[in-house]
Structures are given as structure tokens and as C-alpha cells.
């Protein structure tokens, strides 16, 4: 065994021994609590978001009738189905194309969908025997040579259920009406009525040839991991004409709800991380203070700096590993509890948690410790050994720059790694960094004022105030700790009371659950009357014209120009445009201005999301090809649309003068309570050409996600709450050691307890008020930024925040600080001198 190796093992050994002794002496409790809490929050959220996202994904599967879909404009190579079968995934196939059906003398353009018996893999088809019959879920596809059709097809053909229709070379019996088709959603506004037939019957029709425009879909179902593995395998192998589709992409409503839910969860985890990081920093600062003497003695006893450094690093590493493992365990237990709380929201059991969050938790613990605790602890090794002889030699000056740099680096690393969401992360980080800077500045000002005031006061006040300005670092740290704790609590309040509520409000009771499309111009007024007579609120009846986007700002649009498959799909398909004099109530203009005046110049308003996807900027000229002519106008505003509100919305809206001449149909959405389901056949009879789309299931899913999300976030915020309290406790503790000595001296100089208590109360209350004020400002700002820019939710300042934030923290910190410190005070001076 070489000498070096012996050194290393014995350093480890001693580090562990010292760690055990530190633990026993209670020095490490605060730091452990902070670290365990951080890791527990991060792992719990990690485990849980992981699980909940997968569960949501699975639930959302209904929207695409599968867990994953390969969507292709040409036949999908068999290797994909083979591989899916090899992996034990469930498989279904569909084929859609436009065609014409003939019945007697009439003909009608239709959208044919051919399915096999396994379709749909998620959700189910619901059929009716005739308009007035009950909806029945079905198993298996249409029987050979039969067709399921939308009611309005029969109306258009002037036929009844059971009629014979010809598709290409083959005759079918239209024996069922389609009431609900799970994956219809992807194309709400398609004009032609649906006809569903058996996949086996397609070749005989002779309709599908190499040259026809056909969409092929391979539907896949299976456990989340298997699906994810398959997606990873398939992604790089897919030909250019095919793409993967999951529920999130299929529906903007669903995607935006799931996105918000996971953003909220990440927000909760990040807030905990930031606040607990501050607690870790405060706690290690305190540890350094308390270990300075010990280090001086050890150096005096012959421990060289590099040995001490090594021992400290090893001790911290061992500590970090142990605390992080405990944190992981607590995080795991925590998410089990959370899964229990939320179990009733999911159809089946949640997918099992993956192990990845354990590594994330361990990594977080070690990185947080390295960033927040390592620099001050490493500087400990520089304590001069002479301190054993000269007590006045303080701890070595901690390099604030180094500590700040390390903490910032650690935070940035953790946030980049943690937040799947960069925008959320940096905005939150900015808010917190701003708050810390303001708190530090405020603390410095307060210390400075205390110094000024000390010069003008006498007696106990003078001593107290001078004491404050004599330990500026402790005072500033303390105010920062208080402020961060309060900021965490206020952020919780803002998120809980304001953000989550506005999220819930995006989908209130009575949000539209039916879409009505293909309303003919002559039916528009009659429909409005029909609604009015039956006391049904619609979201407004909007004109809709169809056009293919052909040019943006002088460039021609080709689907192949877009790398992003979603953009390519968008560019490939017809847009639904609308025209209007006024913007829809829930749309918000985020750039440019909406047109005003009775007869505005031709112009377009575009939804901001699609503008970004397609690269449309304000001022660009858009060209659409509609019904045989080209329509062009500049974009003069960008709108933000709340997609999960289930109101009718359009990507592109033009001025009436520009589009009113085009052949239009009308669309609306409305809320139909379950009890009034009987109105459906009545409506379809009165307006036979319209298509009614039931989005009730989708709506319930989105609402379910919102509820789940809110509960999950509230639960995770318990960790943040704990972190906030901890950082405040750490703040009170930060000055305790110094205070002890001070109070001993003050009391020996004749100050009585009452005077000391009053001094403490004033000091802590002032600190609490100032910290509360700063925290309120930043909580409000952060809340505003989060609401408007990250979550796309409305935000109104909340006056109660200020009342609770400023007054509440003044009172709470005044009392807590005084009581926490008083314990040290009431001890007899002798005990204090011994402890000092």
C-alpha cells in the first residue's frame, strides 16, 4: 500500500468520523434539513411529473385513438408495423381520402375513412341506429360492405338509414349513423361528411391508386415505456413523408393544458430549489462561523491546508450523498402520497415511476451543496492558526464574488437541467436574483442607517444599533433570508390564489362542449333564433372561409420549405379564415393594432403561435388561394388566443371587405348540459346540413388535467412552504452566535431583559417590514411575468398580497425572531459565556 493511498483512505476515514461527530453535535441539522428538502422536492416533482405526464399522455390517447400514430401521405413501410408487433404493441390502421358517393341520382363529396377491427385503440366509436336512437359504443369496425355515415350525408343525399350508397366500384349499405369518432378532433372543420368503411373493402372500390391523395395512419398502443422506446426507434427511420403524432400535438387545447400543468409543477420545484438554495447558503455560512475556531486548532495541531481542504471536501461529499439519498427517499414517498391523493383522477393505475429522478435528485443535492456550501467551507482551510492565540482574528474574509459566482453557476446548471422549460426558468431566476440583489441592497442601507442612528442615540439603543452595524454581513444575510422566505410564501399565494384560479376559469362550468360547423349562410339567423328560443348561449356565430396559404411576404409557401413537420403540415393544408369588424372578446392583441373604422383597408390578424411556427412577421403580406382567386393583404396584428377555452377561434382573421365576398359557411360552439341531450336530434332535424361535433370528452379531459395539475402543484408547494420557513429560521439563526456574546456583554453592563427584548422586537420587526416590502414587490412582479408571459393567463394585482406581505411579515418576523433569539437571552449569563 503506497503512502499516498494510505493518506487518502485515512482522510476519508477521518472525514466520515468528523461528519458523524458534527452530526451528533447538532451542527449539521439546519444544513441537512435544507438539503434534504431541496432534494426531496426536486425528486418528488421529478417522479411525479414523469408519471403524471405519462398518465396524461395516455389519457389524451383518446384524442388520436391511440398512444402514438405514424401519419403518412404514402403507404407506411411494413418494417414499422413489424417492429411494433415485435415489441408487443397493439396495432390498428386507418386510411382517409376524399371521394364522391352516389345514391340514386344524387352525389356528395365525402371524406372516407377506412378502418380495421382493432380501431380505435383508445376511446371508442359511438353509433346510432337512427337520429332518435341512443348512442351505443361499438367494438370492431364496420361489417363488410356496410358503411357508417354522418347524419348530414343522408340529408344531403335525401336518403334514410339503410340506404345503399356507391363508393367507386362497390355498393355499401349505410346502416349506422356516426355519433362520436374519437380522433375526429384533429380536423374539426372539415367540410365533407364522414363515411367509414372496412379497410378490407378499399381495394375493391378501386378508389385508391398510387396517384391518389391518401392519408395512411398506423395507430399504436402499449405501455408508456414501450411507446416511448418505439418512438425513439422509429423517429430517425421515418421517411420524409411520414411523421409521428401524439395526443399533445393532435389538439392545441390538450397540449396547452398539459403544458401548463407541467410548467406549474416545474415552477413549484424551481421555487423550492431557489429558496432552499438560500437556506443551504445561510446554513453553511453558519457552519463556517461555528467551525472557524476548530479549524484554527486543527491547523495549530499540524494539519496542513491541503489535508483540511481534502477532509472538508470529503466530509461535504459524504454529507451530500447521505442527505441527498434521504431526500430522494422522502421525495419518492412524497410522490407516492401524491399519486394516492390523485388516484381518482386517472382511469387506471399511474404508470410506475422511473428511476431517473433519483439521479436527478442526487445530482441536485451535490450541485447545490457544491455551489452554495463548498466555497465558504473551503475558505475555512485558510483560517490562520494564529487565531488560537489572538481571538480577535476573525474568519477569513469570504470572497463574496467567488461565493456568488459558484452559487450562480450551480443555479444555472440546476435550472437548465431541471426546467424542461427554459423560458419559465430564466424568468423565475431573474425574479429571484433581482429580489436577492434588492434585499442585499436594502440590508446594506439598513445597516448604514443603523450606524447613523447609533451615533445619535444613547444607552441600550446605541449599543443595539451599533451592534447591528458592527456585523453588517450577518444583518444583510438575515434580511435576505427573511425576504426570500417571504417571497416564497407570497409566490405561493400568487400562484395559488391568482394563477391557478385564472387557469381554472379558462374552462368554467358551461364552457362550450359542442361545435357546430357547416352552417349555411341562409341558416345563420334561424340558428341564432333557435338558440335564443331554447335559452342556449353560443360563443357567437362566425363566418369561415377556406383558403390555401400560398405566400408570405413575397415568398411562395411550399410545405417542403419547413423543417418543422408541424409547420409543413400546416402549410400543406387549407386554412380556415374568418372576417370580423371587432376582435373576439377573449383574444388579446399582442403586437400591432386591430383595424378600426367603418371600412378598413384590407388586412389580416394572425394568431401569434402559428405566426411563429410559419415565420410570419407583422407587416408581411399573406396570400391565400381561395375558390379560384388569390387574396392578399398585410398582417397588421398578432393575437393571443386561449385555445383551451373551447371558444371558436381562428388562426387568421381578415377584414370583412377582404373576405366577405368569398363563399362562407358559419361555425359556432355552445354549451349543452347533459340533461338537454334530447335537443341534439331536434337540432339536426332543423338544420340537417350542419355537422355537430361533440367535444365534451375532450373538454372533460382538459378540465381533468387542470384539476389534477392544480392539486399536484398545491401538494408540491408544501415543499416550497417548508423551504420558505426553513430559510427564515436560518436567517434568525444566522446572527444568534454573535448575539449571544453581545447580549452577555450588554447584560453584564446592566441592560435588563425588558430593554433587550424591546430592542430585539424593534430590530426584527423593522427587518420583517423591509423584507416583506421587497418580497411583495417581487412576488407581484414575478406573478405578473409568470401569468402574462409564461402561462398566458390574465393577471390582476392583489391588494391583500401587500397587506399580508408587508404587515404580516413585520409581525411574524418580529415575533418569531424575538422569540427565537429570546431563548438565548433568558439563559443565565454564565451559561451564555460558556456557550460563546
Amino acid at each position: 500500500m503506497s503512502a499516498r493511498f494510505r493518506i487518502r483512505t485515512s482522510a476519508w476515514w477521518l472525514a466520515l468520523k468528523l461528519l458523524r461527530r458534527d452530526w451528533r453535535s447538532g451542527e449539521l441539522y439546519l444544513l441537512s434539513a435544507a438539503l434534504v428538502l431541496t432534494v426531496a422536492a426536486i425528486t418528488a416533482v421529478g417522479f411525479f411529473t414523469d408519471r403524471i405526464e405519462r398518465a396524461m399522455q395516455r389519457q389524451g390517447g383518446e384524442l388520436i385513438a391511440a398512444d402514438l400514430v405514424i401519419d403518412s401521405s404514402r403507404a407506411i413501410p411494413e418494417t414499422f408495423a413489424d417492429e411494433a408487433a415485435r415489441r408487443g404493441l397493439a396495432i390498428a390502421r386507418t386510411l382517409t381520402f376524399s371521394s364522391v358517393v352516389l345514391a340514386g341520382d344524387s352525389s356528395q363529396l365525402v371524406q372516407v375513412k377506412a378502418v380495421d377491427d382493432t380501431y380505435p385503440l383508445r376511446g371508442s366509436m359511438r353509433l346510432k341506429a337512427d337520429l332518435d336512437a341512443a348512442e351505443l359504443p361499438t367494438d370492431g369496425g364496420p361489417a363488410p360492405r356496410t358503411a357508417w355515415v354522418e347524419p348530414r350525408l343522408l340529408y344531403a343525399l335525401g336518403a334514410e338509414v339503410g340506404t345503399g350508397i356507391d363508393l367507386g366500384e362497390v355498393g355499401f349499405t349505410a346502416d349506422r349513423l356516426i355519433a362520436y369518432e374519437p380522433d375526429r378532433g384533429g380536423n374539426f372543420f372539415q367540410i365533407a361528411p364522414r363515411v367509414m368503411i372496412r379497410l378490407d373493402d378499399v381495394p375493391a372500390t378501386g378508389l385508391v391508386t398510387e396517384a391518389s391523395r391518401v392519408r395512411h395512419r398506423l395507430l399504436l398502443g402499449g405501455p408508456p415505456q414501450a411507446i416511448a422506446d418505439f418512438a425513439a426507434w422509429a423517429e430517425p427511420k421515418l421517411p420524409a413523408y411520414a411523421g409521428l403524432l401524439d395526443a399533445r400535438e393532435a389538439r392545441p387545447e390538450f397540449e396547452s393544458a398539459v403544458d401548463r400543468a407541467s410548467r406549474f409543477l416545474h415552477l413549484a420545484a424551481l421555487t423550492t430549489l431557489l429558496v432552499a438554495g438560500a437556506a443551504i447558503a445561510l446554513a453553511s455560512r453558519r457552519l463556517v462561523d461555528r467551525q472557524t475556531d476548530a479549524v484554527a486548532v486543527m491547523r495549530c495541531l499540524g494539519a496542513p491546508r491541503h489535508v483540511l481542504t481534502r477532509i472538508f471536501a470529503l466530509r461535504l461529499l459524504a454529507f451530500g450523498l447521505i442527505a441527498s439519498l434521504i431526500g430522494c427517499l422522502i421525495g419518492w414517498l412524497g410522490q407516492q402520497g401524491l399519486a394516492l391523493v390523485l388516484a381518482d383522477w386517472f382511469d387506471g393505475p399511474l404508470p410506475a415511476p422511473s428511476v431517473a429522478p433519483v439521479f436527478v435528485g442526487l445530482g441536485t443535492g451535490l450541485v447545490a451543496l457544491a455551489g452554495f456550501a463548498l466555497p465558504p467551507l473551503m475558505q475555512l482551510a485558510d483560517v490562520p492558526p494564529l487565531k488560537v492565540l489572538r481571538r480577535d482574528l476573525g474568519a477569513p474574509k469570504t470572497s463574496v464574488a467567488l461565493a456568488a459566482l459558484a452559487a450562480a453557476a450551480a443555479l444555472a446548471l440546476l435550472i437548465l437541467w431541471q426546467a424542461g422549460d427554459f423560458e419559465l426558468a430564466w424568468k423565475l431566476l431573474l425574479g429571484v436574483v433581482g429580489a436577492v440583489a434588492a434585499l442585499v441592497a436594502l440590508g446594506a442601507v439598513m445597516v448604514w442607517l443603523a450606524g447613523l442612528a447609533a451615533a445619535r442615540t444613547r444607552g441600550i439603543w446605541r449599543l443595539g444599533l451599533a451592534g447591528l452595524s458592527r456585523r453588517p454581513a450577518a444583518a444583510i444575510l438575515q434580511i435576505t433570508g427573511f425576504g426570500l422566505g417571504i417571497l416564497a410564501l407570497l409566490l405561493l399565494a400568487v400562484v395559488r390564489v391568482d394563477l391557478l384560479q385564472s387557469w381554472q376559469q379558462t374552462l368554467p362550468e358551461g364552457a362550450p362542449n359542442r361545435f357546430l360547423i357547416n352552417i349555411q349562410p341562409h341558416e345563420k339567423d334561424a340558428l341564432a333564433d333557435w338558440f335564443a328560443e331554447r335559452d342556449i348561449d353560443s360563443s357567437g356565430i362566425y363566418p369561415m372561409v377556406r383558403g390555401r396559404l400560398t405566400g408570405i411576404g413575397g415568398e411562395t409557401v411550399e410545405p417542403d420549405d419547413y423543417e418543422d413537420p408541424q409547420a409543413a403540415r400546416l402549410a400543406d393544408r387549407e386554412f380556415n379564415l374568418s372576417y370580423s369588424d371587432v376582435p373576439q372578446g377573449d383574444n388579446e392583441i399582442v403586437a400591432g393594432r386591430w383595424w378600426a373604422g367603418p371600412d378598413p383597408l384590407p388586412q389580416f390578424s394572425v394568431e401569434e403561435g402559428i405566426a411563429e411556427t410559419l415565420g410570419i412577421a407583422l407587416g408581411d403580406e399573406l396570400r391565400f388561394w381561395m375558390a379560384g382567386r388569390e387574396v392578399a393583404a398585410p398582417v397588421t396584428s398578432l393575437r393571443r388566443v386561449v385555445w383551451d377555452s373551447f371558444n371558436v377561434n381562428f388562426f387568421v382573421i381578415g377584414t370583412p371587405g377582404l373576405l366577405a365576398g368569398e363563399p362562407a359557411t358559419y361555425v359556432t360552439s355552445f354549451y349543452l348540459p347533459a340533461a338537454r341531450e334530447a335537443l341534439v336530434p331536434e337540432l339536426l332535424r332543423a338544420f340537417p346540413s350542419v355537422t355537430l361535433i361533440d367535444v365534451g370528452a375532450l373538454l372533460e379531459q382538459v378540465r381533468g388535467i387542470i384539476e389534477q395539475g392544480i392539486r399536484a402543484v398545491e401538494y408540491v408547494f408544501l415543499f416550497t412552504l417548508a423551504a420558505g420557513l426553513l430559510v427564515m429560521y436560518a436567517g434568525i439563526q444566522a446572527s444568534l452566535a454573535v448575539r449571544r456574546g453581545e447580549h452577555g456583554v450588554l447584560r453584564t453592563l446592566g441592560a435588563n431583559r425588558g430593554q433587550l427584548l424591546r430592542g430585539l422586537l424593534v430590530e426584527f420587526t423593522v427587518a420583517g417590514l423591509l423584507a416583506g416590502l421587497t418580497a411583495s414587490i417581487f412576488a407581484e412582479l414575478t406573478g405578473y411575468v409568470l401569468a402574462r408571459q409564461v402561462f398566458d393567463l390574465p393577471f390582476a394585482p392583489n391588494p391583500w398580497l401587500w397587506v399580508f406581505g408587508v404587515l404580516g411579515s413585520g409581525v411574524a418576523i418580529g415575533l418569531a425572531g424575538t422569540l427565537g433569539t429570546y431563548r438565548a437571552l433568558v439563559r443565565p449569563p454564565l451559561a451564555q459565556l460558556r456557550a460563546a
Partner: protein
Amino acid sequence: MNTPESVSPESVSPESVSPESASPEIVSPEVLCRADGLAKHVTGPGGRLTILHDLSLSIGAGEAVAIVGASGSGKSTLLGLLAGLDTPSDGDVELCGERLATLDEDGRAALRAGRVGFVFQSFQLLPTLTALENVSLPLELGAITDAPRMNGSGPTGIAREALERVGLTPRAGHYPRQLSGGEQQRVAIARAFAPGPRILFADEPTGNLDLATGQKIIDLLFALRADAGAALVLVTHDQALAERCDRRLGMRDGHLEALA
């Protein structure tokens, strides 16, 4: 001990300070500690302040030397310089055969490890360690730095023996705050003697104790010193205490003079 691996190229690493090369028997058989033209200045708010003036002394192996003088005369400063806890403004100190000026901070620490013991007025026990752990700490640190002398019984065994010699075996598991001042100082003495030092520095070891307790502590200190054959540098105000040493040096305004 002096295996090839243990001689590292960096002269400051602890391995290189092997007992043979640092052994006073080889370099200078009788002088353990020597100061030459030692001076210490500090610059304070009131300009340059000279604490020690051109001061020389030497202490032989096993010798007990008392340094007495008024408060503020520079006794602790001198002690710190002799032990290598601080660096002089001028002059040099030779400790256990090594010139401190040639060593850096870590080299000096490694030199102290296991060879130099300390007893302070304020005890300086680590509050988070029990009495036994406090005593074994220098031994454990020595095990890392590969300091000399580590017989078979290991740090804890040696520490137990040392505690027994100061009569504190029953208090081995107690923390410093659970011990009286006299007991704490006995633990400190056990800690100082446990590694078997060649020289002991004591800065007013009885300053915080009552007369009777102080007397017992001093008896203990001298008894253990006699057993170990270690040299002693004792800073004190107490004339009676100084009388028990082989030699007395007086400190006045930074100058040293031999006393009767």
C-alpha cells in the same frame, strides 16, 4: 518509513518532512528551538508598531523556559512566532531542526504535527468533540499527514492512555461544555502530550482557573513533561510558576532579558 513513494518532489508536502531528516538529533542535538534577530512589526491605525525588537533565544531539548512580562509586552506574539503560527517581520526561527523561513504555512503545519504540543489559556477544545475525540484528533490528523510515532494501539488507544494519565477516564465521553474549566484544561494537556511531542508551548495555561485548580494543572503539566522529556515554553504572569522552570526570561516592550 522513508520509502521511495513517501519522498515526494514537492518539498512542502508532509511526506517529505520525514522524521529522520527533521530529527533534531542529527541536525542539532541539543537545541530544539532557536530564534535569531526576531522582530515583529504591524501597521495599525496609528502607524507602524513594533511588537518585538531584534530578539534571540534558544531552547534545548527537555529544557523548561518561562517567559514572564506585563500584559501587552509581546509574550503571545513571541510564542506564536516560535511555534510557527505566525511569520516574523525579520529574523528566523529554527524549530526541531528546520528553519521556518524555508517552509510555507503547510510545511510549518506538517512540522508541528506530532512534535509540537500546545496548551492555551482558553483551552481551545473543539466543542463538537468529546474529551476522548479531542485528545485523539492530533493523532488522527497525524495519521493523515504521516507524522512520526504511531505505535500499535492506534489513535483511540493512545488517547485513552493520555486521558487516563490526567485522570479523566470517566469523562471520556463528555463534551467540553459538560466539563469544568480545570477538567477542560486537563483534556487539553492530554491532547498536547498524546502524540509524544518534543516541545510544548503553553500560553498562560492557568489564566482562566482558580488558584488551587491552577496549581493542580501545573503539577500535572510538569509531571507529564518530565515523563515525556519534552521541552516547555511557558508564558505566565505568575512568578511562582516561573520559578519551577529551568530558566526565566523577562519580556518588556518587545525586548527579552534573562532573569535570575
